[in-house]
């Protein structure tokens, strides 16, 4: 069960995407909260790059707090997935809201990513 989550909180700028990074049982969890669009895709990209550099095992992007994402957010996730693959890191998406999922479906990326229901399901993958 590990030592419980170690939570690193980034300062939240009002009206902007908030991103937290947490370590749980050898899994690194990045959790963006807010709408992901061109205005904040770079912020997400930077946080994912840091997370990818800091793990050798499993990276979970928890989308529970993302009600909306546009193609710049999707591009950021595709890029992260490609880096993860090159480095044998297991990258998973979880807690995807239906509206965000439908964008992955329209972009035909829903089968390219490993998408699991929740953090618990991510443990087993």
């Amino acid at each position: 069960m590990g030592f419980g989550p170690h939570i690193e909180r980034h300062e939240m700028t009002p009206g902007e995407l908030n991103i937290t990074t947490e370590t749980l049982d050898e899994m690194l969890i990045v959790r963006p909260t807010g709408e992901v669009d061109l205005g904040c895709a770079t912020l997400l990209q930077e946080n994912l790059a840091t997370a990818l550099a800091g793990t050798t095992n499993k990276l979970i992007i928890d989308l529970v707090g993302v009600p909306y994402m546009d193609s710049s957010g999707v591009a950021t996730l595709v890029e992260a997935m490609q880096v993860a693959r090159r480095n044998n890191i297991n990258l998973l998406l979880c807690n995807m809201q239906d509206r965000v999922r439908s964008i992955f479906e329209i972009a035909r990326l829903d089968t390219v990513f490993v998408i699991v229901d929740d953090i618990d399901a991510a443990r087993g993958v």
């Binding site: 061109l38 205005g39 909306y68 193609s71 439908s102 964008i103």
Partner: protein
């Protein structure tokens, strides 16, 4: 397509921070027009992608340039929303505005595809001798007359 005066016109600067506010008016307009929450969210996405492309490709990420949006609520025999987005950015051949091959998995190249999937009609045109115009239209479900049937003057060269 109704060419009476649009009920709403928005002028925004080409700043990605304004995408959120613009989605606010598109979402509320779509709901007022009778779209359900999911379709309204998709309409926001289509507009968002159109604007993001103007900001990145048209204005090359200069955040101080003008973009104009016009919104028509159509309540006649084909109810729905028509949205035009105009810029003063560099002109491109509309046929170069096209989605990447979806089989190829790489970042980017999805915006145009999303717009085409979401809207019933979409076309890019040169706007006089300066800038481009993106014409979008979505009909309310239950008033279908065929998807993508935007007529012979829809010469945007985009495969649907």
């Amino acid at each position: 397509m109704s060419m009476s005066e649009p009920q709403l016109q928005i002028k925004l600067l080409s700043d990605p921070q304004l995408l959120g506010p613009v989605r606010g008016i598109v979402k509320a307009s779509a709901e007022k027009a009778g779209f359900d929450a999911d379709s309204a969210s998709h309409l926001c996405l289509a507009v968002d992608e159109g604007l993001a492309n103007i900001i990145r490709h048209g204005y090359e990420s200069d955040h101080e340039q003008p973009i104009w949006m016009s919104i028509w609520f159509e309540a006649d025999d084909q109810p729905g929303l028509t949205i035009h987005i105009e810029d003063e950015a560099q002109q491109v051949d509309p046929s170069t505005i096209r989605s990447r091959d979806l089989e190829e998995v790489r970042p980017g190249g999805l915006g145009v595809h999303l717009i085409q999937e979401i809207m019933d009609e979409c076309s890019w045109e040169k706007r006089g001798d300066k800038g481009m115009i993106l014409k979008l239209r979505k009909r309310l479900p239950g008033n279908l007359t065929g998807c993508g049937s935007s007529g012979p003057d829809d010469g945007d060269g985009i495969e649907r």
